[in-house]
Chain length 327, copies 5
Amino acid sequence: MNQKSRIKLFAYSPLKLVEKTLKSPEEIKEYADYPVVWVNVNGMEGLEVLEELGFSGFFVRVLRRFRGSKAIVLQDQILLMAHQVYRVERGLKKEKTAFLLKGNLVVTIQERPGDVFNRIREKIRNEGSVLRNSGPDYLFCALLDATVENYVPIIEEISTSVERLEDMVLKRTDRELLRHIQSIRRQTFFLRRAIFPLLESFRKIRVEGSALFGENAKIYLEDLSSHVLEVLDLIESQRDMADGLLDIYYSSISLRTNEIMGILTVVSTIFIPLTFITGLYGMNFNPEASPYNMPELNWYYGYPAVLLLMLAIAVGMLVYFRRKGWI
Amino acid sequence: MNQKSRIKLFAYSPLKLVEKTLKSPEEIKEYADYPVVWVNVNGMEGLEVLEELGFSGFFVRVLRRFRGSKAIVLQDQILLMAHQVYRVERGLKKEKTAFLLKGNLVVTIQERPGDVFNRIREKIRNEGSVLRNSGPDYLFCALLDATVENYVPIIEEISTSVERLEDMVLKRTDRELLRHIQSIRRQTFFLRRAIFPLLESFRKIRVEGSALFGENAKIYLEDLSSHVLEVLDLIESQRDMADGLLDIYYSSISLRTNEIMGILTVVSTIFIPLTFITGLYGMNFNPEASPYNMPELNWYYGYPAVLLLMLAIAVGMLVYFRRKGWI
Amino acid sequence: MNQKSRIKLFAYSPLKLVEKTLKSPEEIKEYADYPVVWVNVNGMEGLEVLEELGFSGFFVRVLRRFRGSKAIVLQDQILLMAHQVYRVERGLKKEKTAFLLKGNLVVTIQERPGDVFNRIREKIRNEGSVLRNSGPDYLFCALLDATVENYVPIIEEISTSVERLEDMVLKRTDRELLRHIQSIRRQTFFLRRAIFPLLESFRKIRVEGSALFGENAKIYLEDLSSHVLEVLDLIESQRDMADGLLDIYYSSISLRTNEIMGILTVVSTIFIPLTFITGLYGMNFNPEASPYNMPELNWYYGYPAVLLLMLAIAVGMLVYFRRKGWI
Amino acid sequence: MNQKSRIKLFAYSPLKLVEKTLKSPEEIKEYADYPVVWVNVNGMEGLEVLEELGFSGFFVRVLRRFRGSKAIVLQDQILLMAHQVYRVERGLKKEKTAFLLKGNLVVTIQERPGDVFNRIREKIRNEGSVLRNSGPDYLFCALLDATVENYVPIIEEISTSVERLEDMVLKRTDRELLRHIQSIRRQTFFLRRAIFPLLESFRKIRVEGSALFGENAKIYLEDLSSHVLEVLDLIESQRDMADGLLDIYYSSISLRTNEIMGILTVVSTIFIPLTFITGLYGMNFNPEASPYNMPELNWYYGYPAVLLLMLAIAVGMLVYFRRKGWI
Amino acid sequence: MNQKSRIKLFAYSPLKLVEKTLKSPEEIKEYADYPVVWVNVNGMEGLEVLEELGFSGFFVRVLRRFRGSKAIVLQDQILLMAHQVYRVERGLKKEKTAFLLKGNLVVTIQERPGDVFNRIREKIRNEGSVLRNSGPDYLFCALLDATVENYVPIIEEISTSVERLEDMVLKRTDRELLRHIQSIRRQTFFLRRAIFPLLESFRKIRVEGSALFGENAKIYLEDLSSHVLEVLDLIESQRDMADGLLDIYYSSISLRTNEIMGILTVVSTIFIPLTFITGLYGMNFNPEASPYNMPELNWYYGYPAVLLLMLAIAVGMLVYFRRKGWI
Ligand SMILES: [Mg+2]
Ligand SMILES: [Mg+2]
Ligand SMILES: [Mg+2]
Ligand SMILES: [Mg+2]
Ligand SMILES: [Mg+2]
Ligand SMILES: [Mg+2]
Ligand SMILES: [Mg+2]
Ligand SMILES: [Mg+2]
Ligand SMILES: [Mg+2]
Ligand SMILES: [Mg+2]
Ligand SMILES: [Mg+2]
Ligand SMILES: [Mg+2]
Ligand SMILES: [Mg+2]
Ligand SMILES: [Mg+2]
Ligand SMILES: [Mg+2]
Ligand SMILES: [Mg+2]
Ligand SMILES: [Mg+2]
Ligand SMILES: [Mg+2]
Ligand SMILES: [Mg+2]
Ligand SMILES: [Mg+2]
Ligand SMILES: [Mg+2]
Ligand SMILES: [Mg+2]
Ligand SMILES: [Mg+2]
Ligand SMILES: [Mg+2]
Ligand SMILES: [Mg+2]
Ligand SMILES: [Mg+2]
Ligand SMILES: [Mg+2]
Ligand SMILES: [Mg+2]
Ligand SMILES: [Mg+2]
Ligand SMILES: [Mg+2]
Ligand SMILES: [Mg+2]
């Protein structure tokens, strides 16, 4: 276990509390008699330590190929792999996080320092908290609950930006908006992929690992599943809204197409015929050559008549467009 | 429990009825011997009172994190969290509402005064009603039924505006319509998100809480689930119709595009060639310079011939468009 | 029970048959000893009569709030609410219909006179029919089967109009077609909403009400569920086809857009440049002022050369469009 | 049983084989002692014969109303209704086919002569085949398997035409292609509707009819269900591909719209301003009337300057379009 | 078994290892006493050998009709058919691969030489590996795991190209991009069709074949199913993203339509009216014939006034478009 992957230990009972950064995994054994020992490891490299702590070799092999959330329940020990999710400016990032439970020992292994467990640490330090007066099974659930709980603000951020976009798509149809809608869709896919497998993992722990959980922790476990369902429902609805956004955005573009083309058509259909008429009387047929050669050019009211004709055409067209509802 | 969250108590048996606004939760204990005691609290702050009334601490913790509908069933007590839904001019609003049942005590906690339970209050006051002659389990179901029942008129309002929109989308394609369709979609999402989790909550109460319900209340409970299913089906179909609206609206925009472009094309394809011809004979080639320099300008029937040519072109085009079905 | 809601009674055994219009519900008791008594009531008002006939008060309360199809199964009696569906010129209409079974008594209550049960009435009058020689459970199933059976011709009418539309959408893109597609979609929603809940109702009767059905009736009941599944599958496929119609219709509009714009573009891109050239030689630059002032105007072959140039441009454009496949 | 519905009988044991066309159903009883008797009837009219062969009257009633695939399992006999599917030049055709099993008797009833069972007939004639050495249960499965097996080549034909279309939609956007995509979608709907109900029918036979099947036939039955699942999955994926085709086709039309409009815009935006300039110098303002009246007309380099100006405008526009990526 | 289908044998125990290419299947029997014998056959022709090795004839018949993944579990032997998937430059290719387990014998049959099992071969050669120290059941699972494991890099390649496309669709709308999106969709269909049936096959082996698997192999089997679920979820999300791509691409095309049309409209609506004005004063009405015949032509400031008028119109239009947000 190289130095980089610091190990932080909490060992506690209702009355005693030890909070230490360990230099080597061996020290963990000194706290074997505490009712609850929580060891957090930052850095996925030093997985061998798990076998020294009595966890199954199979856990280590599966952890090496950690991709999506997965739960493996053996007779006396449980491994659950899930993702903590963080918002970074460009979008969302996932952090592989393993949760292990065996006897009085709870182990969490994360890729990087920094996590969503600070509220748990405070509760352990507070003698009156239910957590401090409960067993390792309750702690295991609380850590999972904190992970799921942390998804909610991320989804709510998405929901607010969706609400904001909902008004914008009706007004603007620029590419920036399209990029924004796309990134929201990607985030909902990302979240769904990270969280969906948790359903199956929690179900497996509830069904196959029930022997390892006391009465209280069982209620907590039950609540966890409904919590994930609720979160997934939130994500699904954001997905629906985002898809809806694209439909509305798309209709809005087509409305814009009609508006632009409306102007082009109104101006063209009025002025192209009028320009034709000006062209007609711009022709150089030689009036002397024949009485039929554009006699209008020499009429007394030729020019005003033509102007009047053009005015009539223009007004006629405008009335037609008005009735059609295009202007 | 600060003053703002008024507490209203109903304590009744087939023959006796007490209806009082309490100053403090302690007074509730005075009515312990009544078969049914219903306490309604407006304001989510004073949750501690629940533990004094013998409800589990876990209920209080979960209530603090009230988001979606959720049911927690313990041995002798039930918590169900759901939303009352109101129509406000800009759209729909949710009101968090908790329903608790323990022994002869039914507690409802709401965010704000005003609710959908007035019909229940009348039935309690009416000695002949089934409700007045039933137990706390029946009251618990009636309160839930009233909440679900109140969703129906909201959905029916949506369905009427969808029906109205269905005719409009065929005629108009303005942005106002798009905004309207969007708000309907959002309302269906909103309702679905508020109501969908109720299915799981009712299922849990029916399966895990059956010991707390007598024969009559059980039938009522069963009917509640099918009632929610029915409501969800109503919402789903409005969602489908709203999606359908957008598709029809979208096709209608494209039809409009073709209509506009049809006019532009008919006018342009007739007059642009004619304008070309006028331009042709508007050129200043010097007739003296060469016999080939626009001799037509000096033909006897030059001008009428050109007019006739133009007429032929215009009529030919119009016939072509007529056969193509564009005019 | 006011006069308007006529009550029609059939009381029969393999050998005896009574067919009477009753003046008041009390008369029903006179036929208590017949193996099968069927009472049909037109008009939803007089529901109290049910309690006189021994049906549960709960049935009456639920019937008052009849919305979708629902089944309620009690120990010795069953209520099933469903819709008969009729085609009216403007679309489809629903008729609330209640089916009740208790002992030897089968009751049907409908909103309006006229129903789909005439084939059942003939079978009762025909001594040799299986129905006439079976019990009230078999009659109950036969009445439900007739209701479901009547959905099929309505769906088949929809499917024929869809098939007709499938050819039209490829040829025409007028608004009338859009209105037609929309009405088909609405009809499929309408049917699905009316029929879908029947699945759950039949399942409930089969599972919870099995004690009330003999061997033969059970097979009939089983067949009813698969019958509804089949009908729903028919509706689903019409829905898919209708959605497909809209997609094809929509593509067809866009094809039309391209056709129109093709003509506009071909004519414009040929004649606008040519018009420019005519405009070029329509300019009044004074040839005497400078040798560079449009000398072409005085060339011997000026005009024919320009005509030739224009012809070359036009032909070149046409070849280009031909290769591009636009004409 | 009229003459048109020919009856063909196979009666066989591992050692003996009788293959005869019967004149009347009574002759079937002569082969009662053969281990396996297969009777195929072409023509749905003569259903009464089934009751003579000991099949239940209920089967006859259900067969008369044969619509979708359905299975009815009674204590000692099974009826399964399904469709054979054939490719005809205009699309696909369904043939109602009934499969019945009772004791040593397997009956198949089809609408028209000609079927997919020739491979089965060969296997019966070949003494070494597993089929010839198995019971009526095995034959029943083999006949069903042949029906399902025959769906596969039809779907593979669809998949090849989809693959061909996939390349075409990228290149061409004519109406013929749209008609082709539409017919593929209809065929997938048609197949799904014909085959989907088979899932439920096979499940019912496997679950409720297991007593009628020996060890070997059970494996075959199991394999049948997974075979149908596989076929349905094939159809679903062709449906997806066909929907995908329409999306790609649709995008390709819009691309074409942009290409056409690109040309129109490039030509128009270059030549309309230039034509304006030619129009400007085509005006007849009298140069003598005022020094401001179009002096340019008499400049020495007037005409070349204007030509140069126009060239600059044209080149400037072309560079702009090039950078915008439209040409 | 012709020469082309080479047979490779591994026979091993924790201490002994034999690795041989066999000339004929008979040689396999010489290694009957090794705890684990793995025989790999390249080439689907020589299936008869399986019956010599004691596998059921039914397996051979089903293998001949190998299409999708399927599992058949008999009392003492298992057949699982699946596809190895390879990336070829034009897309993806499937290779039919059969996995059989009976007693100490594991057989794999593939269409072509070359597979994803090299890591397994190394583990067998490494005495310390879990695989080398486990039974045939463990090997069977490891071979399946390697097949599923090999899908992941292929999906990850798709996901990277989707991410790359996500940026491109916002910038470019050329046909090449459309072809690329289409090929991604096809690959996701291809993979889903190849992998989806594995779910059912693994479930069947886990449920019906559990007697053939020891403790360790059972955990491995369990992990396999969740592994496939995870892979399918990865594919589904790529499918969603690809569909999303097409939606965004499509919106981007329509945006492009508006941009192009915006330029056309701005230029046309400014210059067509101006050209009309130039045409107006290009008419040849004879000023001497009447004082109303275009007197402006002789005004002192005629020409500059017209120029000013045109400038005013142009600027007015530009301001209008700016406010409309089109430029
Ligand atoms: Mg961390
Ligand atoms: Mg706590
Ligand atoms: Mg992402
Ligand atoms: Mg994940
Ligand atoms: Mg929670
Ligand atoms: Mg568009
Ligand atoms: Mg309130
Ligand atoms: Mg009541
Ligand atoms: Mg809302
Ligand atoms: Mg909610
Ligand atoms: Mg209700
Ligand atoms: Mg849509
Ligand atoms: Mg369009
Ligand atoms: Mg009626
Ligand atoms: Mg009958
Ligand atoms: Mg309707
Ligand atoms: Mg209904
Ligand atoms: Mg039926
Ligand atoms: Mg679609
Ligand atoms: Mg046939
Ligand atoms: Mg065979
Ligand atoms: Mg068809
Ligand atoms: Mg069918
Ligand atoms: Mg098969
Ligand atoms: Mg388009
Ligand atoms: Mg290979
Ligand atoms: Mg290994
Ligand atoms: Mg492929
Ligand atoms: Mg496959
Ligand atoms: Mg794995
Ligand atoms: Mg889509």
